[in-house]
Symmetry: C2
């Protein structure tokens, strides 16, 4: 069982990361997400990392990469649930999560995605 499930909730795809990411799992997740965005026409991707106590440069790069892939497929990515210690470590490591939007929790993330969708609909 090394594929992370992707849940569809309306216009948003939700992924909860619970396990330490290995290369294979990360690549599979990127592939699955890209396919699912294309198949469903989802406009948002939410990645919950509240279970992660450590985010190293590998996971940081993966988040940036997913965000980049999603953007090309016209979907916005929001990372939610980051633990304070993880944020501190990321900054200490010099990892800025380039191009990745974040929100405190799922509800705020949903709100952010909804606003982004409305702005895009208005052509801003």
């Amino acid at each position: 069982m090394d594929r992370i499930p992707i849940l569809r909730m309306g216009e948003t795809l939700l992924v909860t990361i619970q396990i330490d990411m290995q290369d294979q799992t990360a690549i599979a997740l990127q592939d699955d997400l890209a396919n699912k965005i294309a198949a469903t026409g989802a406009s948002g991707v939410m990645i919950d990392i509240s279970a992660l106590e450590i985010v190293d440069s590998f996971v940081g790069r993966m988040l940036s990469s997913i965000s980049g892939i999603a953007r090309i497929l016209s979907a916005t990515t929001v990372v939610v649930g980051m633990q304070p210690a993880v944020a501190i470590t990321l900054v200490e490591l010099g990892l800025s999560l380039e191009g990745v939007k974040t929100a405190l929790n799922v509800e705020r993330g949903m709100e952010l995605l909804r606003r982004t969708r409305e702005e895009q609909a208005l052509g801003r």
Copy 2:
């Protein structure tokens, strides 16, 4: 990392099970869910098991047990994303998931919880 994250989405708590459940993880999940239902006043619990290729009697009992605990705390539990092979195995094993509601996917599960909430509000 052996605690399964519980995501709050409005009135609903969402859990995605991605790993083979061990006794400790299952007990921790039951505790966490009970506490979170009490703390948030959530009226629904959604458990996604789309990543599980095997559901044995242990997991079956755990789902029934979570559902029972949630009911006492006045929340409805819906299990979503069950793979067809899992359903077949459950029936062959004689496990009927007593008292557990199911739905095909997260969206239908949300719809089911919404309807249940409305019926309860009407006092049926």
